[in-house]
């Protein structure tokens, strides 16, 4: 009523503007700063081998984070991604007997199916995303362990190629991550689905009134998240030439959420920053590498990561108000 009438454009205060800038570009600035720091102070940082290692390590995080960004864009969250990686890894081992393509397809189907389950719980049963995917986190990790009870090694030429080959000097894993990033960016920017998922996260009531198939969109988003997590699981398995459902993808959901939030996608939905998300993943990876290279213990990484995620959410919050 009276209050809503006052929707005149309000000038942003200095502090608000700073926070807004930080939310949007903070991640780029941080990555840049870390890179410069390393160039200056870390021996061998500029060597090609080092870059390769960094990129290979960050690829699975990037892939999982892409799906997470889509889910968070709808004001949801997907805690099941780490477990889906484990399940897809288990599926690879189970179906490797039929050849690598069959095994990979089985893994991807399993990931999509888990996503469909989570999406259905969220969209049709009306369960909060955090609870629905928590149930999947617990159950699917268990399922993966039941299917493949212990670390299982294998040798499969096709999977070795997938995990370790390079094309034009770039590891295949990295190329796949880059292609998927481009695909997701295209999805968000250029397709109906992308526009609609952002609208669902931005204002669900408005989306519904505008005739958007809100429930189908939600299910699709979780299916994509499951699918991408499965891809990451397959790649990790191929690299290791082994499946270890007990530890593969453990705590991946936390890294992915951090990457997405740090990358400027607000937890309140309505916006998806694909490039920001990739930068967020890079930031975590670089941070870890920097600390290790300077002989600082792993414990620092986690504590710094905690501070970063708090700061990112705080910046987003300052902006909303």
């Amino acid at each position: 009523m009276a209050e809503t009438a006052g929707t005149l454009p309000k000038p942003l205060g200095g502090r608000t503007r700073t926070l807004a800038w930080l939310q949007r570009y903070g991640v780029y600035a941080s990555v840049l700063a870390l890179l410069l720091f390393n160039v200056a102070f870390t021996p061998h940082f500029l060597e090609v081998a080092n870059f390769r290692t960094q990129l290979i390590q960050v690829a699975p995080i990037v892939i999982v984070s892409l799906g997470m960004a889509l889910v968070i864009g709808t004001e949801g969250i997907d805690l099941s991604v780490g477990s889906v990686m484990a399940l897809s890894s288990a599926m690879v081992v189970l179906y490797l007997g039929y050849g690598a393509p069959v095994a990979i397809v089985a893994a991807l189907v399993a990931g999509a199916a888990v996503g469909a389950g989570g999406g259905a719980l969220v969209a049709y049963a009306g369960v909060q995303p955090i609870v629905a995917t928590l149930a999947l986190l617990v159950g699917i990790r268990g399922l993966a362990n039941v299917l493949v009870p212990q670390l299982t090694e294998f040798r499969n030429p096709a999977l070795i190629t997938l995990g370790s080959r390079s094309v034009l000097g770039l590891p295949l894993v990295v190329i796949i991550a880059a292609v998927l990033t481009a695909v997701v960016a295209f999805l968000v920017k250029r397709t109906i689905f992308g526009r609609q998922l952002v609208a669902v996260g931005g204002n669900r009531a408005a989306a519904k009134l505008s005739g958007l198939p809100v429930r189908r969109i939600l299910v699709a988003v979780y299916v994509l998240s499951g699918l991408l997590a499965a891809v990451a699981g397959v790649l990790a398995t191929a690299r290791l030439q082994a499946s270890d459902p007990t530890s593969l993808g453990l705590l991946m959901e936390l890294s992915a959420i951090t990457a997405v939030v740090v990358g400027g996608t607000p937890l309140t939905g309505g916006r998806v920053r694909v490039l920001g998300t990739v930068m967020g993943a890079l930031l975590i990876q670089l941070l870890q590498a920097t600390l290790i290279k300077h002989n600082l213990p792993q414990s620092w990484t986690q504590m710094v990561q905690a501070v970063i995620i708090l700061a990112a959410v705080y910046a987003a919050r300052g902006r909303k108000k």
Binding site: A2, A5, T7, I192, R195, Q196, A199, L209, G211, L212
Partner: protein, 511 residues
């Protein structure tokens, strides 16, 4: 009964502004002991702001509050409550999952040994309180399992039992059954007898005349009238609320509407048949033909928005049917309504309209995306074309189509939503308060647009609390009261006086 006695609560010259709007402008209000005081006014009149000032939610920019003769100021709602001013909100402000007894006595639970809550005593006390209000219910049940009436009674009982001297009721009967209303009125009578003052906000005139002693009418942030209710004619009261003088209806030409449209003959573009929904709609039938503007008249809460939403597929209904351009619509599917050609401009622009995180362009294209894409990929060129055309045609002022919609003024946001409807290729527009809360210039533009669109053959269902707008913009006006059609005016019958008369006299179902 208020004359002579010192007021319990008094507001003197209260002003309160928000960015872009002055919600209260020098409002004074006196509430005597044991008085039931009606506070009425249309949307945007300033009622809710005044209530929020009285209860400590907002602090006034100017003016003062006096309680029992001395000046007071409330920093928080809790301060006001501790001073003896309680509010019973439309949506009951209790904890739905907790038991009736716990809600009633939260913070004042009887203690037994070791300072631990004595549950037996808690239930006994609660039962005693509730029976005083004529409610026999198991006080151990969760609050939400009670009917709305009983829930409101619990809120009321809680307010009174914490020594409230003033109880403010905001639309207390909007969700009540007639029998529950009777119980509520009985309790209000008891409160009055006990010297407790009540501020009663409602749009149901019968209720006001049944229980209120005094009335204050707010309009555009000012007091339009205050005095005893008895003897104030019903039509006069409505005229005061709507800002109209029955004796002196102003000349035409205050709005941008040009005049009558020529409705194309033939099938109605939208037809609602006997729509019914519990508590909200009773056998509402409406038809709009192409090129016709049909106004929906009535006071707040009469069922106008519900009718529009039911037609747009956004509100499920229990009985009846909606036919748009010859297609019978599936219930509760906005997508089907949009495909058939009916598009709703929602009343609450912020909550149901704009997607604040998206650009002007994306907001306009949102509902029309299926038309603007091929194989799931959005054709940017087509979107640009449509958006450009509509932005120009609707004169939407934005730095670029890519500006964020949340940075636009209210009037321009409204035009963006109108553009969204038009982009879908709508055959009929359901406009719910299209000019509320936007500045004068934008208002005139929107009105002119409605005219143009109707002239081009669109059907328009126009909901407006602005009587002038309704009369000058509509070819026909259907008047609703308490969720039922109580009158239909067409041609020269469409006058402000006739609409007010229909609202006042209409033989609808009572609260």
């Amino acid at each position: 009964m208020s004359d002579g006695t010192a007021p319990v609560l008094e507001a003197r010259g209260i002003s309160k502004g928000f960015p872009g709007v002055l919600a209260l402008d020098g409002v004074s209000f006196r509430l005597a002991a044991g008085e039931v005081h009606a506070l009425v006014g249309e949307n945007g009149a300033g009622k809710s702001t005044l209530i929020k000032v009285l209860t400590g939610v907002h602090q006034p920019d100017r003016g003062e509050l006096r309680l029992h003769g001395g000046p007071v100021s409330f920093g928080t709602p809790l301060d006001a409550q501790r001073a003896g001013i309680s509010t019973i909100y439309q949506e009951v402000n209790l904890v739905p999952q907790m038991s009736v007894a716990h809600n009633l006595l939260l913070g004042r639970e009887p203690r037994g040994r070791l300072g631990v809550i004595d549950t037996g005593q808690l239930y006994t006390q609660a039962r005693r309180v509730m029976s005083r209000y004529g409610i026999q219910t198991d006080v151990r049940r969760p609050l939400r399992s009670l009917g709305m009436g009983a829930q409101q009674m619990v809120a009321l009982a809680r307010a009174v039992s914490i020594d409230a001297r003033v109880v403010i009721m905001d639309e207390p009967t909007s969700a009540l059954e007639p029998r529950e209303v009777d119980t509520l009125f009985g309790v209000i009578g008891d409160l009055r007898a006990g010297g407790i003052s009540v501020v009663y906000v409602s749009h149901r005139l019968e209720e006001l005349y049944r229980i209120c002693d005094q009335v204050t009418v707010l309009r555009d942030g000012r007091v339009a009238h205050t005095g005893p209710l008895a003897g104030l004619e019903r039509v006069k009261l409505i005229a005061l609320m709507l800002g109209r003088d029955t004796a002196d209806v102003r000349l035409r030409g205050q709005t941008e509407f040009a005049g009558r449209h020529t409705a194309k003959n033939g099938q109605p573009v939208v037809e609602a048949r006997a729509l019914s929904r519990r508590h909200q709609l009773h056998d509402v039938s409406i038809r709009v033909r192409p090129g016709e503007v049909v106004g929906l008249g009535g006071l707040l809460g009469a069922g106008r928005s519900e009718t529009a939403k039911a037609i747009a597929g956004a509100l499920p209904f229990d009985g009846g049917a909606v036919v748009v351009a010859g297609h019978a619509l599936r219930k509760g599917s906005p997508a089907a309504a949009i495909r058939a050609g009916a598009s709703l401009l929602p009343e609450d622009r912020k909550a149901e309209g704009i997607v604040p995180t998206m650009s002007v362009r994306d907001n306009i294209a949102l509902a029309a995306l299926p038309r603007l894409s091929r194989a799931g990929i959005v054709s940017e060129a087509r979107v640009d074309r449509v958006v450009q055309t509509l932005m120009k045609r609707l004169r939407i002022k934005a730095t670029s189509p890519h500006q964020k919609v949340s940075e636009l003024s209210g009037g321009n946001q409204q035009k963006v939503l109108l553009a969204r409807s038009l982009a879908t290729g709508a055959k009929v527009l359901l406009l719910d308060e299209p000019t509320r809360g936007i500045d004068v210039g934008a208002k005139a533009e929107v009105q002119a647009l409605i005219d143009e669109l109707a002239a081009e053959g669109l059907g328009v269902l126009l909901i407006s609390s602005d009587l002038e707008e309704l009369v000058e913009g509509s070819d026909r006006v259907v008047v609703l009261r308490d969720g039922a059609v109580v009158g239909e005016l067409s041609g020269d019958e469409v006058t402000e006086e006739a609409i007010m008369r229909a609202i006042a006299d209409g033989g609808g179902v009572d609260g």
